[in-house]
Amino acid sequence: MTNAVLVLEDGRVFHGTPYGAEGETFGEMVFNTGMTGYQETLTDPSYHRQIVAMTAPHIGNTGVNDEDPESGRVWVAGYVVREPSRVVSNWRANRSLDDYLKEQGVVGIAIPGTRALTRHLRERGAMRAGIFTAPAAPVAELVERVRQAPGMAGADLAAEVATAEPYVVPAIGDRRYTVAAVDLGIKGMTPHRMAERGCEVHVLPATATFEQIMAVRPDGVFFSNGPGDPATADVSALRAVLAARVPFFGICFGNQLFGRALGLSTYKLRYGHRGVNQPVQDVRTGKVEISAHNHGFAVEAPLDGPFDTPFGQAEVSHVNLNDRCVEGLRLLDGRAFSVQYHPEAAAGPHDAAYLFDEFCEVMTRAQA
């Protein structure tokens, strides 16, 4: 079986073999450069409606376990790998990735040309794509169908991935803080990192209003990561939180919304940052964190110093050293901050875990 195809909207076609579920799927074609953590990646809600290609050639070696998923399901729209593992080798694994993808109905393909695909996306930018494991039509027709699939710009997807009902993640050990976490596509590790630090985390639907947020009497408010175009999101609740001077922390999509709430604009990156090796520099200390990234959009903000916002002066707190993209924002008074990358990691390095400590410190100061 070598008849499966990956078709890009610009007409480029990659041939390969089916992997996971059979059928067809469409989404925005992106690549992820992490060499570990496929299970976390697959279950990250931020990948909703995206076909993810892994640049690491061997995928599935350690199988799938019950501890590592970041949410209750696989979110990627499709999966592209080079060499799927034929066996499972890990003491925690209880099934193979192939079986897991089939069970989750995720259509995938194994192609030799993952590097060529990556180079193509690097040069031409992220684009729509489709995987057809048993294509019944000529390529030209498949390309046409790919072009008809919805793009990512302008997509409002947070509500599609977020929880419908509020739920509580209890603090591990003594409860020291109450956090209202607005779920825009939250990963399981995020409330866990807060819970480890004594936070009782009230995870709220993406549509939570200011009143609903304040109803949990939070010491701090958190806006999560999530898929889609930040330009489509309503930031009125967040603005109200900031106006009420409640401590705020945001990650990824939450960072983009914080930026918009501050009056900044967001834009789509050519091919985004997806991987676990991105160098981010803390502008104040000069220290570099190796960090996990998954974003296709970024905030436009002045890199040369503080700027005015409706909530007081703010500054860019973190910068990506690869492309000087904005990776973090903070109000100078310190009560609200956010980062574009993933301090909760999963997958990825733990260098930025200190940001959760900082959030707790801000809440402690506010409590005093």
Binding site: F14, T33, T62, D68, R92, P112, I290, A346
Partner: protein, 1095 residues
Amino acid sequence: MPKREDIRSVLVIGSGPIVIGQACEFDYSGTQACRVLRDEGFRVILVNSNPATIMTDPEFADATYVEPITPEFVEKIIAKERPDALLPTLGGQTALNTAVALHEAGVLEAYDVELIGADFDAIQAGENRELFKGIVAKVARDHGLNAESARSVVCHTMDDCLAAVGELGYPLVVRPSFTMGGVGSGFAYDESDLRRIAGAGLDASPTTEVLLEESILGWKEYELEVMRDRRDNVVIVCSIENIDPMGVHTGDSVTVAPALTLTDREYQNMRDVAIAVIREVGVDTGGCNIQFAVEPRTGRMIVIEMNPRVSRSSALASKATGFPIAKIAAKLAIGYTLDEIPNDITRETPASFEPTLDYIVVKVPRFAFEKFKGADPTLTTHMKSVGEAMAIGRSFAEALQKALRSLEKKGSSFTWAGELAGKAELLAACRTPHDGRLVTMQQAIRAGATAEELYEATSVDPWFLDQLFLLQEEAQALADAPELTVEVLRRVKGHGFSDVQIGEIRGIDEARVRDLRHALGLRPVYNTVDTCAAEFAAKTPYLYSAYDEESEVPYGTRRKVIILGSGPNRIGQGIEFDYACVHASFELSRAGYETVMVNCNPETVSTDYDTSDRLYFEPLTLEDVLEVVHAEQETGPVAGVIVQLGGQTPLGLAQALKDAGVPVVGTSPESIHLAEERGAFGQVLAEAGLPAPKHGTATTVAEALAVAEDVGYPVLVRPSYVLGGAGMAIVYDEETLTTYMAAEEGGHPVLIDKFLDEAVEIDVDALYDGTELYLGGVMEHIEEAGIHSGDSACTLPPITLGSLDIKRIRAATEAIADGVGVRGLLNVQYAMSAGVLYVLEANPRASRTVPFVSKATAVPLAKAAARVMLGASLAELRAEGMLPATGDGGTLPMEASIAVKEAVLPFNRFRGVDIVLGPEMRSTGEVMGIDESFGIAFAKSQAAAYGELPTKGRAFVSVANRDKRAMIFPVKALADLGFEILATEGTAEVLRRNGVRAKIVRKQSEGTGPGGEPTSVQCILNGEIDLIVNTPFGSPGQSGPRLDGYDIRTAAVLRGIPCITTVAGLAAAAAGIQAIVRGDVGVRSLQEHAQALRG
């Protein structure tokens, strides 16, 4: 943080001679460091006793000291040069130990020299096992990390060891402190093992300390390469997973990068632990590596050890990822932070990132057990490999198969042809780690072994085992395919099958497979090693082949020269050839060519992406080289391929390349054949009127006996077409010759030469452009004939040859160069016997001695050779100033310094192997001693190779009858210097009769005396002897391991006492000791020597 301005000069310590466990990776790291420091404007002072290194080229440092790396000599250099700082982390364990000794002796403080790269406390914390264990425990406690050390007990005496067994139980691991490459470590399964291994370990450890620990045999093994800067930024450059589980030294294991069987959680925990450990140890400006073991059923993780310095693994990680660890480590040491250093490969992104790979790297070790009869070939925690090859592929299978064929050793690749042993036998063989175990495992699969059976036998992770099964299935599918279609071929090529393997499976020859493949348009593409999995565009062309989608070879218009490297280090083909290749690349690039390097040895400077305009990390087989040449021809004009500089490996490809239409520059393949084929070469000599020892060729026992009868015993026998004297022996009688021939029958023809006893051997390196000969250097061997030139010490200029002799040598060399048709380098070996100059052999290529000659005479021979190969004349090179305007290495002035080259032998690695030198080369490396007087130069060479010669104490002398007359004078000299002389009975009698007081010591075979008088071996083991002179008894062919001499020499190796095995060596040593006793020994840089030589 920018560069430090308070430091102006830096002393860099190299790693000395190539030995097992410390090879040319430290030339690579040291060269990078020197380049960085000079680029940053520092005055660089370098000490390294190894003349074959690139780093000791005078242009890499302001003052280059080819002097022994001992605290005494380094102190002299410090006193003379007064450096502000000492960088000890790029010269392996040798540099680190020397720096520690200088610190402890107060030298660094006295001269106000700052240690940079790692401070003393960090070195201690990383290297001292007890301190390190404490650090791991602290890290686990303070950071809540899953980290622990193996349960262990530190012991300083044998009683401590025996007591520890109660706590740990057998089996247990013995690890001595402060030794490199795991010397002296091993597994003890019972008390006698423990006494033996721990006893030797206590001796080997400079701190008389061994660690006993719980066995973690069979666990998964990993390494992380970590870098940290002074602002506490930390990155993990690379993860490496060992396919051979715990129990085999990492240097001897097949390893893969990145790690392939860890989930992100496990990997991140490992990463967190590594970072916490490097912080706690306090390595704040540089690199280190940390090793882990993981229990496969529970995931329990143990931190094994760390090296607070750049290591062999760092070199591998640098080549595997494109992240230049040594270069960055040097920059960090002088004050920069990671974010201030650009990533050379992308040029746009900083070095403060973690490389991500979209390919797989496999490293395989190369062994040389065939050279060390009697050595135990089982792989243990004690490193035994002499080199390694690395390969890159887009899948593990592709990388693994490329790596195995990079070893260029018969039987190193998987095979699906030929006799198959029984499954049970193969599975049993797999239980013991050995050279080529993966091939044994593959054969077991062929024989029907299951994954469960193999796992049970080897503990190799099931994922890797499955890859072997995958290859089996692919091979089967290939065998079953009705026709070799493009689909069938693409599939097996994608799994790394060579044309040779495909031909073997299909029963057709390699060339036919290749023709068919080319006709189908199936060729590999070349991908870039770009540190970022294609996320950013790479600027540095560092390429590997893969059967993949798109080729990334850039188009160009400059004329290109492709240089074929020398592949994995092995005995007889090592760093010297890399030196020649690198020099050619530098020089041809300067001369306007685009240089393209092909090599597969990750330890080398040639595989640094900075060395050539383009680097192909590829096996040096005909198939792989032809594909590279094709890819280069497709993208621009190729002026030629150089095969003469990388040793026998590329030379062996010369004819086939030419036949395939590849332009081979320099000496033509036909000329190479003229020199290599005995009959043809005999013709050349006859036409030039040059005598060779009487000789003949034989393929059967009967023919051999007839030839020997004709030329007369003793005879020198060897298979044709070999390097490093493989399989060479001196045979004194028919019986031995019969045994020898019986083993060789059916292979290459055997060459049989009259062996010239008592001759002086002479080695010559020369350049020839077709009209003029440049005699690079004439080297006189210190040992008499019969010892391989690679193993014998030699002196340049020769100390006993007159100008008339040199004139004859020049004329003979010119006649050979002209007769063979050399364009470039030529090495000739002569023997001078009874006034006759015999030609032993000629090699129309770079020799092992080229770097030594270049350094001793201050002339860059390899660079000149490269230019000659591309058409420059010697006259032009003289005019350019590359060669001296007049004269050459044969006309050195009387007052020229004397350079002595000494070989370094790996006997301490192969206990049980006789250390007597013979015609088969066994040395791994070399050192150079240089001084105005021969005695001091020789003494320096000994100090650099084996430790300083003693100047007082007891000398034990026991020589063969034939040597008794010749040893009297030098032994008398030792006695006059105040040595107490001990000798076996026969030797003592001769000495006494000649007025030398000698005390008789019992032979080992006589046993302990009635009054408890110890034997010679007991005296040595008891540490009562300071110098041993022992020449072998009987003919080398007969010397069995039961002879006394063997026990004496084994004891000498065990105790690390200088042991001289030839009378000529004794005379030189006596001269050296006299020189040391007479006065202060000084140090002088190569730049000063060159100044003196060239004025």
